[in-house]
Every structure is written in structure tokens, then in C-alpha cells.
């Protein structure tokens, strides 16, 4: 016989949860007492509930497991909302347990009461309100099952305080599995559709494979690589998909979309068959949908039927798990003994290589390196070198995020951890903590800016408490870089509220105040040596404040309301 609080924590243990990120408060205190009296489930005390959700999110992205969050009612719950929305937009499996006021007080505007189920409704995959302590075990099982299967997403369990009261004991049994009559996520794709897709791909003269976060989440990177090799087709990854296909492979044409590479966007625009795998034709990818890839037949594999033909109509829709569908496609190609049209594919690669040569950012340096100022792109390249391309890289949101996405070439999935859909500033540091919790030995880098880092900077304290030696690389341009870039481009350089005017803290001293190492880099020639020094301090949190060129813009940049191929490749060149 267990109390509700004990049952909840016991259920987490039985579910295999190793770590919970959270913050206590009145309505959650019975649960926290249950945590105190056991050793199996570790709790990480963050400094703000938003960070708990981002940390659990980072943990989930790095491991593929479900991240777990525990917060109290009212402000604890509302502070978690940004992180839940972040996870929802990027389809990250997460369970958020929120304390709630006692059930008889619900609806009476009690102290620290908020309608968590209501407030989180548009940004969760599902939510539960515990009505009786005996429901706890089954609800936890359901929550983890729903969060992890199908198109993953966050699930909220709202737990009124009286449900966890230590005086009320109930029988506990954790179910082996749950069945929900109204929930049966798709698994295998339709055989007929898969056959059609294979025929279309084999007949293609200018194919391209456009792979997104679904490949990472669906653990299908190996299969993707096999398929790309068999077809000898170019592969592009979305912002969420980076690492799904090896970034250093010759068939990788880079990220696509608004800040995608010239060659990726050109390849998409001129293709005759697009295989979209676990990607959702986001508006930051397609540019104007009406002008999107006019000559391409589109095959779209996704586990979520609602993603298919949502913005761009698919010619061959395939609902199913990416892993299963790619396995079937590969088997079918092998069986058919057919090969792609070698001559056509050769010409296609010649064309792509020509694009790479013309404006490709990997082929040669496209930004001005003549000035004495440190270029943000060079910082990312140097991080890649010093970490041998094998670090976990989390990022915040803005220019630094795009530079990291462009210049850190990820060869493995689950290494690039960023808020792609919601674009949440403040994500990077707590996400890095979550990654470091998942792998205590790993090199974890948080690429950030002086704007984003200040949105969750309090977590430097959490890093101290739990010895999470993440490396924070702050590309400090003393401005909200992406905002400033848009103001340069669209508002004649009127920098409305995007400049800090000498109000920034001394990040070196700040890091030191938290007990960490702070370093500042102002000279180009010091960059590599200082980075090497930073990464050599394996056991320390290092905050590197790198002063970069404020005037730098992210290019390429697609031109709004135009097609994939309409881009600015520098401040002066429009293609």
C-alpha cells in the first residue's frame, strides 16, 4: 500500500525514468517528500521551471527517451508552458507532472491555482487530471506511452495535492502495457504507395531527398544513408534534421530553407522528384508555397497523417513510421534489381557541383575575412575543429543558431539540439544541462548569443550544483543579431530596441560569480587557442564571451514570397 505521492515516484521508477527536472512548491510537496525518501529517481533542481522543461527536452533529444518534468501548481505550471510549447512544436517526447491545488478547491481561485490542463491544451499531445489516487499508476503508463509513440509530444499530468496525501494509502501495481481504444499510431506504410514511391524515385532524373527531424526521432539515420547511397541522390536536411544524414558526406548538400545553402535550395527547386522523409514543409523551408518546386513530384513519408498535404500537396503520401517505410523501400529497390538512370543522375550531380562552386558556403569562404573583427562563422568552424565534429551542440535562437546549423557539420543524429519550431530563446543552456545529465562524459557545447543566454542565465547556478561542465560559447555582437539583420534589410537600419548600449553584464565575472571559468576573446588570432583551452577544461563550466562582428548577416537568405531558388547570397548579391 502506497500513498499517491509514493505511487507517482514509484511509477516513474517502474517506467524507467532516471532523472526528473523540476522545482518544488506547495502543491507538489507530498511528491517531493516521496522523492526525498527514495534513491532510484534522481531530481535536478533547476532555477526556473522553464529551464526544467528545456532540460528534459534536451535530455529527450539526446537520448530518444522521454524527458520528465515536475513542477508545482500556478506559477510553476505557467512557467513550464514555454518549454512545453517548444517540445510540442518539435515533437519531443516529454511528460510534465504539475501539482494542482486540492481537488475541492479547484475552480475557487485558490492560492497558486491555475487551470493547467486548460492552459496547456493547445500545446500538448494529451493531458490528464488525476481524479483519484488509484488512477496514478495507469495514468503515468498512459502518459509515457502517448508521449513516446506515434508522433511524439509532451503530455501533462495535473495532480491535485490531495491525490498525493501521505495518509491515504492504496494498492499499487504498475501495468505492463496500456491500451487506448482511441489511439493507435500508424506503423507500417501502405505497400501500394511504397511501391509507387520506389518507381517514381528510380525513374527520377533529378531526385532529392529532403529529410527532417522525423528521421532523427524515428532512429532511421542508417536507413536514410542506405537509401541515399542506393539512389545516388543528393540529400538535404531541415534544421531539425541536421545529423540525420552525415554532414561531411559528399551527397549532403546542406540545410535547406530560409538560411539553407544555395545548393540545397537550388537542388530542391530544380528537382523532378522530392522524397520528403519525416519533414513537414515548414514555412521556413518552402518559402512561398505557390512557387514551391514547380516541376517536382512529391513523395511524403510521415507518421502523422495531418502533416501530409497540410501546406504542400503530396503526390504520393505515405503514412507510417519512417523506419518501417524506409526499410520497405530499400527492400523493394533491392528486389526490383532496377537502378536509377546513371547518365541522368551524373548530369544532375554535375549541375549540383556547379551550384556548389558558384555560391556554396562549404566550397569556399563567402564572408569577408579581411577585417580584424572575429566572424561568427569562424567561431563555429573553430568549435567544429576543436571538438572534432563530435560534440553535442545545443543552441539558442537567432543568428548564432543559423551559423551553428550551417557550419557545424553533424555526422551523427541527436547531436544538434535546438528549438526549431517555436524558436525559443533561452533554450540552449538548460537543454545543454539535460544533454550532460544524459551523458556525463560527453562534450556538450551551448552556442548562444548575449541576448538568448540572458533568458535562462540563472541556470549557471544549476550547473554548479550538479557539476554539469557544459561549455557556453557566447557569440557576443552586443545586439539582437537576427532582429538587427532584419532591421538592416527591411527597416533601413532603424534598430528598434535591438541594441544593448553598454548595458551588458561582464559575462566573465558573472561566470566566475557562479563558480565557473569565464574567458573573453576579442582578437581573431586568439580564437583557436582559447577554444582549445576551454575544451581542455573537461570538468569545468566555461563561459566564453567571444566578441564578434556586429555587422555580420546570415546568408544565404531566401527572399520572402518567392520560390526556393530566390536568395540573397550576400549583402549585395541576389540570385
Amino acid at each position: 500500500m502506497l500513498s499517491g505521492g509514493d505511487m507517482l515516484i514509484r511509477a516513474l521508477k517502474d517506467e524507467g525514468v532516471e532523472v526528473v527536472f523540476g522545482y518544488p512548491g506547495g502543491a507538489a510537496l507530498h511528491i517531493y517528500d516521496a522523492i526525498f525518501r527514495q534513491k532510484d529517481v534522481k531530481h535536478i533542481l533547476v532555477r526556473h521551471e522553464q529551464a526544467a522543461t528545456h532540460a528534459a527536452d534536451g535530455y529527450a533529444r539526446a537520448t530518444g527517451k522521454v524527458g520528465t518534468v515536475l513542477v508545482t501548481s500556478g506559477p510553476g505550471a505557467t512557467n513550464a508552458i514555454t518549454g512545453i510549447a517548444t517540445a510540442y512544436m518539435d515533437s519531443i517526447p516529454m511528460v510534465v507532472i504539475s501539482g494542482q491545488v486540492q481537488s475541492h478547491l479547484i475552480g475557487e481561485d485558490a492560492f497558486q491555482e491555475t487551470d493547467m490542463v486548460g492552459i496547456s491544451r493547445p500545446i500538448v499531445k494529451h493531458s490528464f487530471l488525476i481524479k483519484h489516487p488509484s488512477e496514478i499508476a495507469e495514468t503515468v503508463k498512459k502518459a509515457y506511452y502517448i508521449a513516446a509513440t506515434g508522433r511524439p509530444g509532451p503530455v501533462v499530468i495535473d495532480v491535485p495535492k490531495d491525490m498525493t496525501h501521505p495518509a491515504n494509502l492504496f494498492a499499487y501495481e504498475y501495468p505492463d502495457k496500456v491500451k487506448l481504444r482511441s489511439y493507435s499510431p500508424a506503423t507500417r506504410g501502405h505497400a501500394g504507395q511504397i511501391k509507387k514511391a520506389v518507381q517514381l524515385l528510380l525513374a527520377a532524373k533529378r531526385p532529392v531527398i529532403y529529410a527532417g527531424g522525423g528521421v532523427v526521432q524515428g532512429n532511421a539515420s542508417g536507413l536514410l544513408r542506405d537509401l541515399v547511397n542506393m539512389l545516388n541522390a543528393p540529400c538535404t536536411n531541415t534544421l531539425m534534421g541536421l545529423g540525420a544524414y552525415p554532414g561531411t558526406d559528399k551527397r549532403f548538400v546542406g540545410m535547406l530553407g530560409m538560411h539553407g545553402t544555395y545548393e540545397a535550395n537550388m537542388t530542391m527547386h530544380h528537382s523532378d522528384v522530392i522524397l520528403a522523409v519525416g519533414a513537414r514543409f515548414d514555412d521556413r523551408v518552402t518559402n512561398a508555397v505557390s512557387k514551391f518546386c514547380p516541376n517536382a513530384k512529391i513523395i511524403h513519408i510521415d507518421i502523422d497523417p495531418a502533416s501530409i498535404s497540410k501546406t504542400v500537396v503530396a503526390d504520393v503520401p505515405i503514412v507510417g513510421s519512417v523506419e518501417s517505410v524506409l526499410t520497405d523501400m530499400i527492400a523493394l529497390i533491392k528486389e526490383s534489381n532496377e537502378k536509377p538512370d546513371a547518365e541522368a543522375i551524373k548530369q544532375w550531380w554535375q549541375q549540383i557541383d556547379e551550384w556548389r562552386e558558384r555560391h556554396g558556403i562549404y566550397h569556399k569562404t563567402r564572408y569577408d575575412t579581411s577585417s580584424d573583427l572575429i566572424k561568427p562563422q569562424d567561431v563555429i568552424k573553430a568549435i567544429w575543429e576543436v571538438t572534432k565534429g563530435d560534440a553535442y551542440v545545443t543552441s539558442d535562437v537567432g543568428q548564432h543558431q543559423m551559423f551553428a546549423a550551417q557550419y557545424y557539420l553533424f555526422d551523427k543524429p541527436r547531436r544538434w539540439i535546438n528549438s526549431g519550431g517555436l524558436g525559443t530563446m533561452g533554450f540552449g543552456l538548460p537543454a545543454a544541462m539535460g544533454v550532460q545529465m544524459a551523458d556525463r562524459e560527453a562534450t556538450v557545447v551551448c552556442v548562444t548569443g548575449e541576448g538568448s543566454i540572458q533568458m535562462c542565465i540563472q541556470e549557471l547556478s544549476c550547473c554548479t550544483q550538479y557539476h554539469l561542465p557544459v561549455k557556453i560559447i557566447c557569440l557576443n555582437n552586443q545586439a539582437l543579431g537576427m532582429v538587427r539583420q532584419w532591421q538592416d534589410m527591411q527597416y533601413s537600419g532603424r534598430y528598434a530596441e535591438s541594441l544593448y548600449e553598454d548595458s551588458l553584464p561582464d559575462f566573465v565575472k558573472l561566470a566566475e560569480a557562479y563558480g565557473h571559468v569565464g574567458m573573453r576573446v576579442t582578437k581573431k588570432e586568439d580564437l583557436k587557442a582559447k577554444l582549445a583551452e576551454c575544451f581542455a577544461m573537461k570538468d569545468r563550466v566555461v563561459f566564453m564571451d567571444i566578441m564578434v562582428d556586429q555587422s555580420e548577416h546570415v546568408y544565404p537568405m531566401q527572399i520572402a514570397t518567392q520560390s526556393m531558388r530566390d536568395m540573397l547570397v550576400s549583402k549585395t548579391e541576389r540570385v
Binding site: 493547445p122 494529451h126 487506448l180 482511441s182 502523422d304 495531418a306
Partner: protein, 163 residues
Amino acid sequence: MRRIISVLVENAPGALSRVVGLFSQRGYNIESLTVAPTEDQTLSRLTLTTLGDDHKIEQITKHLNKLIDVVKLVDLTEGAHIERELMLIKVKASGAQRAEVKRCVDIFRGQIVDVTSTLYTIQITGASDKLDAFLEAVGDASIIEVVRTGVCGISRGEKVLSL
């Protein structure tokens, strides 16, 4: 195009708000909505009418299906179906109007369910356009109060929506 979507949802707290929330969140219209438990006490049946082209309706049904509380749904307007709506209406009925309104009610096969010296309370069932037609026939000037249930519907023939 106007569509009638019939949905079986778990008879659970919050299920209705998830459905309604989905519509407002994604900018879909709800023209009418009715909901009540079915013969199976664990299920409620919800009928909603909405407007949209095929693309929008496809998205609506896909997103509805994604809700964990939605067990099954059908777009009734895809096939032959019966739709009904019930309306209660208070109409001025004094002097010469009294006989005129009564005749109109008979024509529309309605019933007068309550009477005062100056008012008739009328009940009419039928498809929504019949109810609209009745309102027009009676005329704005005579109408005191109108309440409509919203559409409910069912497929014709052997086709059923059940588990």
C-alpha cells in the same frame, strides 16, 4: 462547402474542450455543435457543422482524429444522410396574426407547444434550411425569441458510426 462531421468521443471531462479548442486554435469555423452521451455511457456523440473546402475539411478530420479522446468520426456529408435540427420559437400571435401563424406552423409541420394570449411557442424540426425558411415565412417583426439545437445527423441505410 457545408459539412456535417459526426464524432464519437470519450465521455470524459475535457474532451469537448479539446474538440472546440482545436477549432479555435487552427482557425476553423464551427457553425453549430451538439453533444450528448450515447447508449454506451463511455462515449459521447458530437455533431458539428463547419464550412470549408476539401483541403480544409481533410485537415479538420485529420486533426480531430489525432485527439486522443476522439475514438471515431465520419463526415456525414460524404454520403446519403439524414440531418435534423430542433427549433423552439416564440412568435407574436394576437388578432388576425393568430390564425396566420397557426397556418404557417401547419405548413411547416411544426407544433404549437405553448400558448398565451399574445404569443405562440412553436416547435419545429427538420433540416436547417427548413428552419431558416420558417423564420423567413414568419418574418422578423413577429419573432420574439429563437433557440436552435444545432444539427445532428446520421447516415442513411446500413452505414453506422460505432466502435
